[in-house]
Subunit: 201 residues, 2 copies
Amino acid sequence: MPKVTQEHLDARRQEILDGARRAFAEHGYEGATVAKLEEATGLSRGAIFHYFENKNDLFVELAMEMNTRFGDILLERGLDEAFRALAAENPEWLAVLIETESRMRHDEDFVRRLESKAADASPRIQEWFEQQQAEGKLRDDVSWLELGRFTTSLLNGLALRVAGGDPFDVEAMLQLLDSAIAAPPKPQKVRRPRPVAKSKK
Amino acid sequence: MPKVTQEHLDARRQEILDGARRAFAEHGYEGATVAKLEEATGLSRGAIFHYFENKNDLFVELAMEMNTRFGDILLERGLDEAFRALAAENPEWLAVLIETESRMRHDEDFVRRLESKAADASPRIQEWFEQQQAEGKLRDDVSWLELGRFTTSLLNGLALRVAGGDPFDVEAMLQLLDSAIAAPPKPQKVRRPRPVAKSKK
Protein backbone atom coordinates (compact mmCIF):
# COMPACT_ATOMS: atom_id res chain seq x y z
CA MET A 1 0.00 0.00 0.00
CA PRO A 2 1.51 3.34 -0.99
CA LYS A 3 2.40 5.62 1.85
CA VAL A 4 0.14 8.66 1.93
CA THR A 5 2.21 11.62 2.96
CA GLN A 6 0.88 14.68 4.79
CA GLU A 7 1.91 16.67 1.76
CA HIS A 8 -0.30 14.52 -0.42
CA LEU A 9 -3.23 14.91 1.97
CA ASP A 10 -2.79 18.68 2.05
CA ALA A 11 -2.62 18.89 -1.73
CA ARG A 12 -5.77 16.81 -2.10
CA ARG A 13 -7.54 18.95 0.46
CA GLN A 14 -6.58 22.11 -1.40
CA GLU A 15 -7.74 20.55 -4.68
CA ILE A 16 -11.16 19.96 -3.15
CA LEU A 17 -11.33 23.52 -1.86
CA ASP A 18 -10.39 24.95 -5.26
CA GLY A 19 -12.95 22.82 -7.06
CA ALA A 20 -15.64 23.63 -4.53
CA ARG A 21 -14.93 27.35 -4.86
CA ARG A 22 -15.47 27.09 -8.61
CA ALA A 23 -18.70 25.13 -8.11
CA PHE A 24 -20.06 27.65 -5.58
CA ALA A 25 -19.12 30.54 -7.86
CA GLU A 26 -20.85 28.95 -10.83
CA HIS A 27 -23.98 27.52 -9.23
CA GLY A 28 -24.40 29.45 -5.98
CA TYR A 29 -24.42 27.84 -2.55
CA GLU A 30 -27.73 26.03 -2.96
CA GLY A 31 -27.08 25.13 -6.58
CA ALA A 32 -23.71 23.54 -5.83
CA THR A 33 -25.11 20.05 -5.26
CA VAL A 34 -22.92 17.15 -4.24
CA ALA A 35 -22.97 15.99 -7.88
CA LYS A 36 -21.69 19.41 -8.99
CA LEU A 37 -19.01 19.31 -6.31
CA GLU A 38 -17.90 15.89 -7.59
CA GLU A 39 -17.79 17.23 -11.11
CA ALA A 40 -15.82 20.35 -10.18
CA THR A 41 -13.28 18.52 -8.03
CA GLY A 42 -13.06 15.39 -10.20
CA LEU A 43 -13.43 13.36 -7.00
CA SER A 44 -16.11 11.12 -5.57
CA ARG A 45 -18.35 12.27 -2.75
CA GLY A 46 -16.63 9.68 -0.60
CA ALA A 47 -13.27 11.36 -1.17
CA ILE A 48 -14.69 14.86 -0.67
CA PHE A 49 -16.47 14.03 2.57
CA HIS A 50 -13.42 12.25 3.86
CA TYR A 51 -11.84 15.70 4.14
CA PHE A 52 -14.90 17.79 4.99
CA GLU A 53 -17.86 16.75 7.06
CA ASN A 54 -20.45 18.25 4.72
CA LYS A 55 -21.08 21.00 2.20
CA ASN A 56 -21.53 23.61 4.88
CA ASP A 57 -18.18 22.67 6.36
CA LEU A 58 -16.54 23.08 2.96
CA PHE A 59 -18.07 26.48 2.56
CA VAL A 60 -17.03 27.62 6.03
CA GLU A 61 -13.47 26.62 5.21
CA LEU A 62 -13.53 28.64 1.98
CA ALA A 63 -15.01 31.65 3.79
CA MET A 64 -12.29 31.45 6.44
CA GLU A 65 -9.64 31.15 3.74
CA MET A 66 -10.94 34.35 2.11
CA ASN A 67 -11.15 36.17 5.42
CA THR A 68 -7.49 35.53 6.15
CA ARG A 69 -6.34 35.86 2.54
CA PHE A 70 -6.22 39.63 2.34
CA GLY A 71 -4.58 39.85 5.74
CA ASP A 72 -1.91 37.43 4.57
CA ILE A 73 -1.28 39.41 1.40
CA LEU A 74 -1.07 42.59 3.46
CA LEU A 75 1.54 41.06 5.76
CA GLU A 76 3.57 39.51 2.97
CA ARG A 77 3.28 41.99 0.13
CA GLY A 78 1.72 45.16 1.49
CA LEU A 79 -1.56 47.00 1.30
CA ASP A 80 -1.52 47.83 -2.39
CA GLU A 81 -1.18 44.18 -3.36
CA ALA A 82 -4.12 43.24 -1.13
CA PHE A 83 -6.33 45.69 -3.01
CA ARG A 84 -4.97 44.53 -6.37
CA ALA A 85 -5.76 40.93 -5.42
CA LEU A 86 -9.32 41.94 -4.60
CA ALA A 87 -9.71 43.72 -7.92
CA ALA A 88 -8.63 40.49 -9.65
CA GLU A 89 -11.06 38.29 -7.68
CA ASN A 90 -13.75 36.26 -9.40
CA PRO A 91 -16.95 38.37 -9.11
CA GLU A 92 -19.21 35.30 -9.00
CA TRP A 93 -17.29 33.82 -6.12
CA LEU A 94 -17.33 37.09 -4.20
CA ALA A 95 -21.08 37.40 -4.74
CA VAL A 96 -21.75 33.89 -3.41
CA LEU A 97 -19.39 34.49 -0.52
CA ILE A 98 -21.01 37.74 0.58
CA GLU A 99 -24.52 36.40 0.16
CA THR A 100 -23.88 33.14 1.99
CA GLU A 101 -21.73 34.70 4.68
CA SER A 102 -24.37 37.23 5.55
CA ARG A 103 -27.03 34.52 5.62
CA MET A 104 -24.84 32.44 7.92
CA ARG A 105 -24.45 35.27 10.36
CA HIS A 106 -27.28 33.66 12.30
CA ASP A 107 -25.27 30.44 12.61
CA GLU A 108 -23.40 30.75 15.89
CA ASP A 109 -20.92 28.01 15.10
CA PHE A 110 -20.03 29.63 11.78
CA VAL A 111 -19.58 33.04 13.39
CA ARG A 112 -17.44 31.58 16.17
CA ARG A 113 -15.16 29.81 13.72
CA LEU A 114 -14.75 32.87 11.52
CA GLU A 115 -14.03 35.04 14.52
CA SER A 116 -11.43 32.70 15.93
CA LYS A 117 -9.56 32.88 12.61
CA ALA A 118 -9.86 36.65 12.58
CA ALA A 119 -8.55 36.81 16.14
CA ASP A 120 -5.53 34.72 15.11
CA ALA A 121 -4.55 37.22 12.44
CA SER A 122 -5.40 40.37 14.33
CA PRO A 123 -2.23 40.75 16.49
CA ARG A 124 -0.04 40.42 13.40
CA ILE A 125 -2.13 42.98 11.55
CA GLN A 126 -2.00 45.36 14.49
CA GLU A 127 1.76 44.91 14.53
CA TRP A 128 1.95 45.66 10.80
CA PHE A 129 0.01 48.90 11.14
CA GLU A 130 1.95 50.02 14.19
CA GLN A 131 5.24 49.22 12.50
CA GLN A 132 4.22 51.30 9.48
CA GLN A 133 3.34 54.15 11.82
CA ALA A 134 6.66 53.84 13.65
CA GLU A 135 8.51 53.95 10.32
CA GLY A 136 6.68 57.14 9.38
CA LYS A 137 4.86 55.49 6.49
CA LEU A 138 1.37 55.71 7.96
CA ARG A 139 -0.02 58.69 9.84
CA ASP A 140 0.10 58.35 13.59
CA ASP A 141 -2.39 61.04 14.63
CA VAL A 142 -5.08 58.33 14.35
CA SER A 143 -4.85 54.96 16.09
CA TRP A 144 -3.87 51.88 14.10
CA LEU A 145 -7.35 50.52 14.88
CA GLU A 146 -9.09 53.34 13.03
CA LEU A 147 -6.63 53.09 10.14
CA GLY A 148 -7.34 49.37 9.97
CA ARG A 149 -11.10 49.86 10.14
CA PHE A 150 -11.06 52.45 7.43
CA THR A 151 -8.93 50.28 5.17
CA THR A 152 -10.95 47.11 5.80
CA SER A 153 -14.25 48.90 5.27
CA LEU A 154 -13.02 50.27 1.98
CA LEU A 155 -11.83 46.81 0.95
CA ASN A 156 -15.19 45.26 1.89
CA GLY A 157 -17.13 47.98 0.12
CA LEU A 158 -15.07 47.42 -3.01
CA ALA A 159 -15.68 43.66 -2.68
CA LEU A 160 -19.43 44.40 -2.74
CA ARG A 161 -18.88 46.42 -5.88
CA VAL A 162 -16.92 43.64 -7.61
CA ALA A 163 -19.55 41.13 -6.52
CA GLY A 164 -22.20 43.32 -8.13
CA GLY A 165 -20.34 43.01 -11.43
CA ASP A 166 -19.00 46.54 -11.22
CA PRO A 167 -15.21 46.53 -11.37
CA PHE A 168 -13.15 49.45 -10.04
CA ASP A 169 -9.97 51.27 -10.97
CA VAL A 170 -7.68 49.92 -8.29
CA GLU A 171 -4.91 52.47 -8.83
CA ALA A 172 -7.28 55.41 -8.38
CA MET A 173 -8.61 53.84 -5.18
CA LEU A 174 -5.07 53.28 -3.91
CA GLN A 175 -4.17 56.89 -4.62
CA LEU A 176 -7.12 58.09 -2.53
CA LEU A 177 -6.46 55.54 0.21
CA ASP A 178 -2.87 56.69 0.37
CA SER A 179 -3.99 60.28 0.93
CA ALA A 180 -6.24 59.06 3.73
CA ILE A 181 -3.81 56.96 5.72
CA ALA A 182 -0.23 57.76 4.66
CA ALA A 183 1.89 59.96 6.89
CA PRO A 184 1.69 63.57 5.66
CA PRO A 185 4.58 64.62 3.42
CA LYS A 186 7.61 66.03 5.17
CA PRO A 187 7.80 69.85 5.33
CA GLN A 188 10.77 70.03 2.94
CA LYS A 189 8.52 68.70 0.22
CA VAL A 190 6.57 71.98 0.19
CA ARG A 191 7.26 73.77 -3.08
CA ARG A 192 7.60 77.49 -3.73
CA PRO A 193 6.38 78.82 -0.44
CA ARG A 194 5.22 82.37 -0.82
CA PRO A 195 4.95 85.19 1.61
CA VAL A 196 1.61 85.21 3.31
CA ALA A 197 -0.42 87.92 1.58
CA LYS A 198 -3.48 88.27 3.70
CA SER A 199 -4.58 86.69 6.84
CA LYS A 200 -7.12 83.98 6.20
CA LYS A 201 -10.21 83.94 8.30
CA MET B 1 -68.10 58.83 2.39
CA PRO B 2 -65.03 60.72 3.60
CA LYS B 3 -62.77 62.08 0.92
CA VAL B 4 -59.44 60.30 0.84
CA THR B 5 -56.76 62.81 0.03
CA GLN B 6 -53.48 62.02 -1.71
CA GLU B 7 -51.77 63.18 1.45
CA HIS B 8 -53.65 60.60 3.44
CA LEU B 9 -52.74 57.87 0.94
CA ASP B 10 -49.07 58.85 1.07
CA ALA B 11 -49.05 58.89 4.86
CA ARG B 12 -50.67 55.47 5.01
CA ARG B 13 -48.17 54.12 2.48
CA GLN B 14 -45.28 55.43 4.53
CA GLU B 15 -46.78 53.92 7.67
CA ILE B 16 -46.81 50.52 5.98
CA LEU B 17 -43.21 50.92 4.86
CA ASP B 18 -42.05 51.89 8.36
CA GLY B 19 -43.86 48.97 9.95
CA ALA B 20 -42.57 46.54 7.35
CA ARG B 21 -39.02 47.76 7.88
CA ARG B 22 -39.35 47.01 11.59
CA ALA B 23 -40.81 43.57 10.86
CA PHE B 24 -38.01 42.69 8.40
CA ALA B 25 -35.39 43.92 10.86
CA GLU B 26 -36.82 41.85 13.68
CA HIS B 27 -37.72 38.63 11.87
CA GLY B 28 -35.63 38.62 8.71
CA TYR B 29 -37.08 38.54 5.21
CA GLU B 30 -38.45 35.00 5.39
CA GLY B 31 -39.54 35.36 9.00
CA ALA B 32 -41.58 38.49 8.30
CA THR B 33 -44.81 36.64 7.50
CA VAL B 34 -47.94 38.44 6.44
CA ALA B 35 -49.23 38.06 10.01
CA LYS B 36 -46.07 39.75 11.34
CA LEU B 37 -46.46 42.52 8.77
CA GLU B 38 -50.05 43.06 9.93
CA GLU B 39 -48.88 43.21 13.52
CA ALA B 40 -46.04 45.64 12.82
CA THR B 41 -48.12 48.00 10.69
CA GLY B 42 -51.34 47.66 12.71
CA LEU B 43 -53.16 47.17 9.41
CA SER B 44 -54.92 44.25 7.76
CA ARG B 45 -53.37 42.33 4.90
CA GLY B 46 -56.10 43.78 2.70
CA ALA B 47 -54.93 47.30 3.50
CA ILE B 48 -51.25 46.41 3.10
CA PHE B 49 -51.69 44.71 -0.24
CA HIS B 50 -53.83 47.52 -1.47
CA TYR B 51 -50.63 49.58 -1.51
CA PHE B 52 -48.08 46.91 -2.40
CA GLU B 53 -48.59 43.93 -4.64
CA ASN B 54 -46.86 41.46 -2.34
CA LYS B 55 -44.15 41.10 0.28
CA ASN B 56 -41.39 41.16 -2.29
CA ASP B 57 -42.73 44.41 -3.67
CA LEU B 58 -42.71 45.92 -0.20
CA PHE B 59 -39.13 44.86 0.33
CA VAL B 60 -38.01 46.22 -3.05
CA GLU B 61 -39.54 49.55 -2.15
CA LEU B 62 -37.66 49.63 1.15
CA ALA B 63 -34.41 48.68 -0.55
CA MET B 64 -34.90 51.44 -3.11
CA GLU B 65 -35.67 53.90 -0.33
CA MET B 66 -32.38 52.99 1.39
CA ASN B 67 -30.45 53.20 -1.85
CA THR B 68 -31.55 56.75 -2.46
CA ARG B 69 -31.54 57.78 1.20
CA PHE B 70 -27.83 58.43 1.57
CA GLY B 71 -27.71 60.22 -1.76
CA ASP B 72 -30.55 62.47 -0.59
CA ILE B 73 -28.80 63.25 2.68
CA LEU B 74 -25.59 63.97 0.77
CA LEU B 75 -27.38 66.45 -1.49
CA GLU B 76 -29.32 68.12 1.29
CA ARG B 77 -26.94 68.06 4.23
CA GLY B 78 -23.53 67.02 2.95
CA LEU B 79 -21.26 64.02 3.10
CA ASP B 80 -20.58 64.02 6.83
CA GLU B 81 -24.27 63.79 7.64
CA ALA B 82 -24.70 60.85 5.28
CA PHE B 83 -22.03 58.92 7.19
CA ARG B 84 -23.51 59.96 10.53
CA ALA B 85 -26.91 58.71 9.38
CA LEU B 86 -25.38 55.36 8.48
CA ALA B 87 -23.70 55.08 11.86
CA ALA B 88 -27.11 55.61 13.47
CA GLU B 89 -28.87 52.98 11.32
CA ASN B 90 -30.54 49.96 12.85
CA PRO B 91 -27.99 47.10 12.54
CA GLU B 92 -30.70 44.45 12.21
CA TRP B 93 -32.34 46.26 9.34
CA LEU B 94 -29.01 46.77 7.57
CA ALA B 95 -28.19 43.07 7.98
CA VAL B 96 -31.50 41.97 6.46
CA LEU B 97 -31.13 44.54 3.70
CA ILE B 98 -27.64 43.44 2.69
CA GLU B 99 -28.48 39.76 2.88
CA THR B 100 -31.73 40.01 0.96
CA GLU B 101 -30.39 42.48 -1.58
CA SER B 102 -27.48 40.27 -2.44
CA ARG B 103 -29.80 37.26 -2.73
CA MET B 104 -32.06 39.22 -5.04
CA ARG B 105 -29.23 40.13 -7.32
CA HIS B 106 -30.35 37.18 -9.46
CA ASP B 107 -33.80 38.73 -9.82
CA GLU B 108 -33.65 40.79 -13.01
CA ASP B 109 -36.74 42.80 -12.25
CA PHE B 110 -35.38 43.77 -8.83
CA VAL B 111 -32.03 44.77 -10.26
CA ARG B 112 -33.67 46.81 -13.01
CA ARG B 113 -35.83 48.69 -10.56
CA LEU B 114 -32.95 49.45 -8.22
CA GLU B 115 -30.80 50.60 -11.10
CA SER B 116 -33.44 52.89 -12.51
CA LYS B 117 -33.66 54.62 -9.12
CA ALA B 118 -29.88 54.87 -8.95
CA ALA B 119 -29.78 56.35 -12.44
CA ASP B 120 -32.31 59.00 -11.38
CA ALA B 121 -30.08 60.19 -8.58
CA SER B 122 -26.77 59.87 -10.35
CA PRO B 123 -26.77 63.17 -12.36
CA ARG B 124 -27.50 65.14 -9.20
CA ILE B 125 -24.76 63.34 -7.32
CA GLN B 126 -22.32 63.93 -10.16
CA GLU B 127 -23.27 67.59 -10.08
CA TRP B 128 -22.71 67.73 -6.32
CA PHE B 129 -19.21 66.28 -6.59
CA GLU B 130 -18.28 68.49 -9.52
CA GLN B 131 -19.60 71.56 -7.73
CA GLN B 132 -17.51 70.71 -4.66
CA GLN B 133 -14.49 70.33 -6.91
CA ALA B 134 -15.19 73.66 -8.62
CA GLU B 135 -15.48 75.35 -5.24
CA GLY B 136 -12.11 73.95 -4.22
CA LYS B 137 -13.60 71.80 -1.48
CA LEU B 138 -12.82 68.44 -3.06
CA ARG B 139 -9.60 67.57 -4.84
CA ASP B 140 -9.81 67.81 -8.62
CA ASP B 141 -6.77 65.77 -9.64
CA VAL B 142 -9.06 62.71 -9.57
CA SER B 143 -12.36 62.53 -11.45
CA TRP B 144 -15.63 62.98 -9.56
CA LEU B 145 -16.42 59.39 -10.51
CA GLU B 146 -13.47 57.98 -8.60
CA LEU B 147 -14.17 60.24 -5.63
CA GLY B 148 -17.74 58.99 -5.67
CA ARG B 149 -16.73 55.36 -5.96
CA PHE B 150 -14.27 55.64 -3.12
CA THR B 151 -16.82 57.35 -0.88
CA THR B 152 -19.63 54.93 -1.73
CA SER B 153 -17.41 51.90 -1.24
CA LEU B 154 -16.35 53.16 2.16
CA LEU B 155 -19.99 53.80 3.08
CA ASN B 156 -21.01 50.31 1.94
CA GLY B 157 -18.10 48.69 3.76
CA LEU B 158 -19.08 50.52 6.94
CA ALA B 159 -22.68 49.39 6.41
CA LEU B 160 -21.42 45.79 6.36
CA ARG B 161 -19.62 46.48 9.62
CA VAL B 162 -22.72 47.95 11.28
CA ALA B 163 -24.80 45.04 9.98
CA GLY B 164 -22.31 42.66 11.58
CA GLY B 165 -23.00 44.31 14.92
CA ASP B 166 -19.69 46.14 14.94
CA PRO B 167 -20.24 49.89 15.23
CA PHE B 168 -17.61 52.40 14.12
CA ASP B 169 -16.30 55.77 15.23
CA VAL B 170 -17.86 57.93 12.58
CA GLU B 171 -15.76 61.02 13.34
CA ALA B 172 -12.50 59.10 12.92
CA MET B 173 -13.73 57.72 9.60
CA LEU B 174 -14.75 61.20 8.45
CA GLN B 175 -11.34 62.57 9.36
CA LEU B 176 -9.65 59.92 7.21
CA LEU B 177 -12.16 60.31 4.38
CA ASP B 178 -11.53 64.04 4.41
CA SER B 179 -7.79 63.47 3.97
CA ALA B 180 -8.58 61.19 1.03
CA ILE B 181 -10.92 63.38 -0.95
CA ALA B 182 -10.69 66.98 0.27
CA ALA B 183 -8.74 69.50 -1.77
CA PRO B 184 -5.20 69.80 -0.42
CA PRO B 185 -4.70 72.77 1.88
CA LYS B 186 -3.91 76.04 0.14
CA PRO B 187 -0.22 77.04 -0.04
CA GLN B 188 -0.78 80.13 2.11
CA LYS B 189 -1.72 77.84 4.92
CA VAL B 190 1.86 76.67 5.06
CA ARG B 191 3.52 78.22 8.05
CA ARG B 192 7.08 79.41 8.28
CA PRO B 193 7.99 79.30 4.58
CA ARG B 194 11.68 78.81 4.07
CA PRO B 195 13.92 79.73 1.17
CA VAL B 196 13.80 77.26 -1.69
CA ALA B 197 16.99 75.26 -1.70
CA LYS B 198 17.01 73.68 -5.13
CA SER B 199 15.11 74.33 -8.32
CA LYS B 200 12.30 71.95 -9.10
CA LYS B 201 11.90 70.30 -12.46
